[in-house]
């Protein structure tokens, strides 16, 4: 929060102009003691008679450096991290308020290669601004997209999004413009915009970083979506595991209303759009769009059969645009800078940028927003710095619990949706979880089936029953013995049934991690070197 200048502040600054420090309030920083660091800075500054002003920003996404403290100096913001409360006295001793050298120092934040080598479009403001300051948001280019959208008719906004090539960033990669066009053309007195913020995939945290670090960009994106399809009400469905994101969004929505960015008269232009946060309750399946809609309606999160598409009959049976956080947050930039600017990033039909999320056994985990087309190897080594354990990396799961495990032979495939699909994998939400050579791939395959069994909504048989049978079959394979080969055959058969017979991606894609583990790491399943087929599901 910005500190309002008061009489006392003015008097202090007369003696000694306060130095601004940034201490993130993102969960990633709070979880490693950022509040205690902020307290320690206040105390040290007071005892030394130095004036400081602390801004609680979002995270820069350099997560191995959290808590990353930045000091605003005449030569720009200078980074120190990871800072623990006990480091603070030493940092003051080495003159960090003037950007002084210290073992935890990294120089100007913008020059850190991890950050400098990114293409931050959607995350341009995250970690830079005070997330809850409307003034900060506008000063850094906020609202320009909404202002332009207010001058356009609905079809023109949809055309702009279509032309940008933006595809759903939640994992399915469906073209956003086509979804919006369907909703615009659907008849209905009431239409809705729903933001899917049920980010349940392990290895993903981009939605959370964005909601906590730049909530207004999501609000602005949803308002633009509202104008584009003539919807007047929106919901953000956030998982209950994200209490900080929920608190930040609720406060941001309240402030956006007061500022006239939401409500009955958006920016004084007579258009209506309002928004509320709804909280999930721990069910992974509610990240599936139709299940999420059921949950919003107050029901069990049981998947719906499609058609009808949500864009035609969605929430409460009304035409509904449901998009992921990153999709909606990419919209203001596209409206502001134009479709071509966004489309010019990326390769083939994978246009724009994707915030990749580096997780698991990596030395430098964090968020890397890059245009499509780079490789996993670049992410793992150039950004990630190799394994955290120091052992060789062996397998990388890309795209969450329903994504394939990729062996080193596949780490040079360009990261674009089509190239990955061709390799029997998927990019999904852009999360990647790295494992070193101690991983037992039969355990990971078993976990995939077990997770599906726990999280299945129960509506369709291949998912509900198949996942439990899958755990049993993998257990028999793990036990080895004469029956092993028959059980492997059975597992492939079962995966085939789940793949083609399930109602949604949970049952339909659980075979990806299972089959990729079996195909690419057959030695873990006790196979002889000759029997592995080349291609995953």
């Amino acid at each position: 929060m910005t500190v309002a200048p008061d009489a006392r502040g003015a008097k202090e600054s007369a003696m000694n102009a306060p130095v601004t420090l940034y201490v993130p309030r993102d969960t990633a920083a709070l979880a490693v003691g950022a509040d205690a660091v902020a307290d320690a800075i206040e105390r040290q500054a007071a005892s030394r008679g130095l004036a400081v002003r602390i801004v609680r920003n979002g995270s820069r996404g350099l997560l191995w450096l959290e808590a990353l403290v930045e000091v605003a100096t005449p030569r720009g913001r200078v980074a120190y991290g990871p800072v623990q409360p006990e480091d603070v006295a030493g940092l003051f001793d080495s003159g960090w308020l003037a950007g002084g050298a210290h073992p935890l120092g990294h120089g100007p934040t913008e020059d850190i290669p991890y950050l400098k080598n990114q293409e931050r479009l959607t995350f341009a403001r995250v970690g830079v601004i005070d997330p809850l300051s409307p003034a900060d948001y506008e000063r850094h280019g906020g609202l320009a997209g909404l202002r332009r959208a207010l001058d356009m008719d609905a079809a023109a906004i949809v055309a702009e999004i279509t032309a940008s090539g933006l595809r759903g960033r939640g994992g399915a990669a469906f073209p956003a413009g086509i979804k919006w066009k369907t909703a615009l053309e659907a008849q209905g007195e009431q239409k809705y915009i729903v933001c899917n913020a049920d980010e349940g995939d392990s290895g993903t945290y981009a939605d959370r970083l964005l909601m906590e670090g730049d909530p207004y960009v999501l609000i602005e994106g949803m308002a633009i979506a509202g104008l584009a399809v003539q919807a007047t009400h929106g919901y953000i469905y956030v998982r209950s595991e994200y209490p900080q994101a929920i608190a930040v969004l609720q406060e941001a929505i309240a402030r956006a209303r007061r500022a006239g960015w939401l409500g009955d008269d958006i920016l004084g232009r007579g258009r209506r759009f309002d928004l509320e946060v709804r909280v999930g309750a721990g069910a992974y399946i509610c990240g599936e769009e139709t299940s999420l809609l059921e949950s919003l309606e107050g029901k069990r999160g049981v998947v719906r059969a499609k058609p009808p598409l949500p864009a035609v009959a969605g929430l409460f049976g009304r035409p509904t645009v449901i998009n992921n956080v990153i999709t909606l947050a990419s919209v203001p930039g596209i409206l502001d800078k134009g479709a071509a600017h966004y489309r010019d990033y990326g390769v083939g039909r994978s246009q724009g940028t994707l915030p990749f999320q580096l997780a698991g056994n990596l030395r430098q985990g964090g968020l890397v927003e890059k245009a499509f087309g780079l490789t996993l190897r670049e992410l793992l080594y150039d950004f990630g710095g190799g394994s955290a354990s120091g052992r060789p990396l062996r397998a990388v799961q890309v795209g969450g619990p329903l994504g394939a495990y990729l062996p080193e032979s596949q780490w040079d495939i360009p990261l674009d949706y089509e190239a990955y699909a061709k390799a029997g994998a998927m990019i999904g939400h852009g999360g990647l979880v790295a494992f070193d050579d101690t991983v037992d791939m039969t355990r990971m395959a078993r976990f995939a089936m077990e997770f599906c069994a726990v999280e299945s909504c129960g509506k369709c048989t291949p998912c509900r029953i198949g996942s439990t049978r899958g755990v049993e079959v993998i257990d028999r394979i793990r036990a080895g013995g004469a029956d092993r080969e028959r059980q492997v055959h059975l597992l492939r058969d079962l995966c085939d049934t789940m793949l083609s017979g399930s109602l949604c991606a949970l049952g339909g894609m659980t075979p990806y991690p299972v089959m990729s583990a079996l195909d690419h790491f057959p030695e873990d399943f006790g196979a002889q070197p000759t029997e592995a087929p080349a291609q995953a599901a």
Binding site: T27, A28, A31, V32, T204, E241, R278, G298, G360
Partner: protein
């Protein structure tokens, strides 16, 4: 229009003069009174059931079976429908947790960084399994599938506050601090 008082509260009483039954019951039981207040305050919210259940759990620490009837009647749902929703979502609990809740992430990223070892340590230290509570009622152990801190695995949450880069030693300190508080 007056109706005879209803003694059978087993099903969709909303259509059978349920509010009267609720108000009678509310007068006698504080749990039901709280549930009735929360539910009637939000009954006109579209898709009200989840917000109501969250509010009840926030106030009472769980959603007691006695509250189900009240919520069902207020929303004109069957008791089975409300029960079905409560049991579908892992976040909702029907019985109170221990004084503290420790959630340990069991997902892939934390597994890649020793999450299984951490979970084993917690089980041994607390003497209970997942979904269980220590004998003294002090700590409930729950699994969680991802806290969104996957670059800083393994992670836990103590009473809803996340702690990253967890080790067995740090977990012991966290548990000791919680118990001392």
């Amino acid at each position: 229009m007056s109706r005879p008082p209803i003694s059978d509260l087993a099903s969709t009483a909303g259509a059978r003069g349920g509010e009267q039954a609720v108000s009678t019951a509310a007068a006698s039981d504080p749990t039901i009174a709280a549930a009735a207040r929360i539910a009637s305050g939000q009954r006109h919210v579209p898709g009200a059931l989840l917000p109501i259940l969250h509010a009840i759990q926030a106030e009472l620490g769980c959603i007691p079976p006695a509250a189900v009837q009240t919520v069902a009647e207020t929303l004109n749902l069957s008791r089975a429908e409300v029960h079905g929703v409560i049991t579908f979502y892992p976040h909702f609990r029907s019985a109170p947790a221990g004084r503290h809740v420790i959630e340990i992430c069991r997902a892939e990223s934390c597994q890649a960084m020793g999450g299984d070892r951490l979970a084993e340590h917690a089980r041994g230290r607390l003497g209970c399994d997942f979904h269980g509570t220590t004998a003294d009622g002090g700590v409930t152990l729950e699994p969680v599938y991802c806290l969104g801190l996957c670059a800083q695995s393994p992670n836990v949450a103590m009473d809803g506050r996340a702690h990253a880069r967890m080790t067995p030693e740090k977990l012991d300190r966290l548990l000791a601090q919680a118990r001392a508080a």
